[in-house]
Symmetry: C2
Subunit: 463 residues, 2 copies
């Protein structure tokens, strides 16, 4: 099981991969037959299937189903080992990474590498207002999703016992910020929760009156999709009871409300006790750490530039990939790659092949992204897909969406479990994972309590 | 959906049930056709399937599968409503319960009842040492199980990066306190984790060397079972690699070790970084609150006495049942009922029938427990069962155990999911829910670090 002792002078090439997401995982897997030793470093012990995290946030899936353990993924790959730690710094000259504390609580020695791959992913940014996160958790990490699950389900619980109609309406108002696939999918799921899943569960609150506002700064939802699909997604959302607010900006988030600026510049404070953040994609902080070590500049979204072979300028032995990079071709132009799992997967596969090729003294041509299409689901039986220019919507797109996501899930068991949960949900409208974890309703600030009486007028205009 | 308005003077009989576990849930369900309104009050939004909680603690099951939402359970029962709150006090004269804060954060008004049922369950006690809980979480609540999961899996992670052999051994030593069914099942599962599930996952640590000590103060495991089954359970545990320490007492628990006093009175400090508590069953605190309100005394295990009709002395309208009571027959003798789910279930069914009978002006004979048997599983394909005096062990008992637990799980989906997880685990030895949540290795106190060098001698005697 343990790595074979290697005679002096015949040390194997050491590849260190930071981040076990879509990109990093593919690098490790792609090197399973290469004559190298691979160490993957991640703060968490699982590889998150990010495209389905929003389903954890609404109780449709259990966290385990989208978070297979990294060790388990690589259990049959003897040249790979996993270290649970945070990468805190890079010394590119000495070819060493510094780590935070190890799992036993001890400080870690610097980890030497021959080839480094950094694939730290992305997170959401709060337009320079990190204080909003306390009131609007981000739908990116599993912790964020579980926090959101508790808040969304807790809001329905609060509405059930709230006797004041204005306050009850605020508990039943959900603001989703960001009209990309994640925001669209989340808004659709909350609407379905209120309309279908929970409609028989409460006695005082009518969950079907729940309002879901989907706020998008651009002039249409799903900006990465063709306009006709944006339009059909918007129609499907409206049918589900979502209020899309395109051309709108969130300008403040408190425990009691969300301030939204309309296209005309007017600002309204919408009384809403629950907000979900899925906007402003920005690279993980490790991108900036790596950029600084390499002496290159990150772009406005915090992404580090890499060349057409996915390596950092001046360091052919340092790869960076996934959501945290911009890929530049030989002419220096940034490729317009979307921040999607397929991009990270293809980049990971490419990096693995290039590293393996180099180990045999060979090279490879530049990375090229093969766009296999783009899809987003809106709700039960509804989705949009753009497959190489062919636009699909409705049930066919939804079936396609299901199949592709099931196929990319890691592990036979998770595929079966997710298929089972989806099948049952399809017929029962139920959601199987609805645990509320230590629900603590956030205190509305004094200002909100004073405003209670004039609560409704502003909010209602969005109904 | 909402409760029908009832004309003045024809108010329906109000039943309030505190606790949505096995007993409380059965009361509510049993009243679905009765001319009463039922309110169930629970701090948590789910009904915990306690007998399988240890499987969550070792990653075999996901929390959702053993924690179906109470609202969902009662969604088709219009005369039942759920309130998420803690019962803080009882005014038996005024027939009112006081609650902690409601889900919207507001203080609750006192809840009036005509009939009260209190079914708060039990927890583990720490022999007067509540400070041990920080180092040995209890395997009773779901939060405890998830905490234990992170600690057990985190300990293997720590062992993987620990270079000192003594410290590594301490990370790979697990102490389970309490030799009842829960402790026996937990010890078996940890042993299987190390021997099977994780054996391919680590590169430096050999998880198969993990030691599991099962400490039981009595002179045999599974005291509620016939002696021959205790013996076969012990043999099965030893075969799995568990070290049963019967006639031993835990006398101290720290972040670094567990002090165990043997039958001869000698105390050994076993270096062990992970401990799990499943001993000293005691009634939930709500039992004492109710006893005080009723002017009766709880017994040494904190249980409130109830009569043969499960009501509290002097208060025929107040029922108490489940793990938190002792049932006394008409002669005043306490019935020797075990603290098991079937007892709570039968008591809950009885209370519902008596309440319904009274609503029609009828009565019922006294509660009688029908002992359908007792079973515990030890590991894959191994279990013991005592069915009305017929002793079964090995694979037949295990099949029986599987069938009974599947049958009692709430919800078709959970049954299917658990069956699927168990089937896959049976063939792959895998465990599907192994997320480590915010692992923070507990700092070993300075004293332990000083002791490091003389770490092994004492601990090794248990090997």
């Amino acid at each position: 099981m343990a790595a074979q002792p290697v005679p002096e002078g015949a040390r194997r090439h050491r590849v260190v991969v930071v981040g076990g997401g879509f990109g990093g995982m593919r690098v490790v897997r792609g090197l399973r037959r290469a004559p190298v030793d691979v160490t993957v470093i991640d703060r968490q012990n699982f590889s998150l299937f990010q495209p389905l995290v929003y389903q954890v946030a609404t109780g449709a899936l259990s966290d385990a189903e989208v978070a297979p353990p990294l060790r388990w993924i690589f259990r049959h790959q003897p040249n790979a080992r996993v270290v649970l730690a945070e990468a805190t710094g890079f010394d590119l000259d000495a070819r060493r990474i510094t780590l935070g504390r190890l799992a036993n609580g001890a400080p870690a020695e610097a980890v030497p590498y021959d080839t480094l791959v950094v694939a730290g992913g992305s997170e959401y940014s709060y337009f320079g207002h990190p204080e909003w996160e306390a009131h609007a958790p981000q739908l990116k990490s599993l912790d964020g999703a579980l926090d959101i699950r508790t808040r969304v389900l807790g809001a329905f619980e609060a509405a059930e016992v709230e006797e004041d109609p204005g306050r009850r309406a605020a508990w039943l108002t959900f603001v989703v910020v960001g009209g990309g696939p994640t925001g669209v999918e989340m808004a659709g799921q909350i609407a379905e929760l209120g309309r279908d899943t929970l409609k028989r569960d409460f006695r005082s609150a009518d969950t079907r009156t729940a309002r879901v506002l989907l706020v998008e700064a651009a002039d249409r939802l799903l900006g990465a999709f063709p306009e006709s699909l944006s339009a059909s997604a918007e129609r499907a959302l409206v049918k589900l009871g979502v209020t899309p607010l395109v051309g709108h900006m969130v300008v403040d988030v408190t425990a009691a409300d969300v301030a939204i600026r309309g296209a005309g510049g007017e600002v309204e404070r919408v009384p809403a006790r629950t907000a979900v953040w899925a906007a402003g994609v920005t690279a993980a902080p490790v991108a900036a750490t790596l950029a600084q070590a390499a002496g290159v500049e990150v772009d406005r979204a915090g992404r580090i530039p890499v060349g057409a072979d996915l390596t950092v300028a001046g360091h052919p032995e340092v790869f960076a990939l996934g959501d945290m990079v911009t890929v530049h071709n030989r002419g220096g132009d940034a490729l317009p790659l979307p921040g999607l799992a397929p991009v990270a997967i293809q980049e990971g596969n490419y990096a693995a092949k290039l590293i393996a090729a180099r180990a045999h003294g060979r090279s490879r041509r530049d990375f090229r992204y093969r766009d296999k299409g783009n899809m987003a689901t809106i709700g039960r039986s509804k989705a949009v897909a753009d497959i190489k220019g062919v636009h699909v919507s409705g049930f066919p797109a939804w079936s396609l969406w299901l199949g592709v996501h099931l196929a990319y899930l890691i592990g036979f068991q998770n595929r079966l479990l997710v298929l089972l949960r989806w099948s049952i949900s399809f017929f029962t409208h139920g959601r199987g994972a609805r645990r509320i974890e230590n629900w603590q309703p956030r205190a509305a600030p004094a200002a909100e309590r004073d405003r209670d009486d004039e609560f409704s007028p502003a909010g209602r205009s969005y109904l």
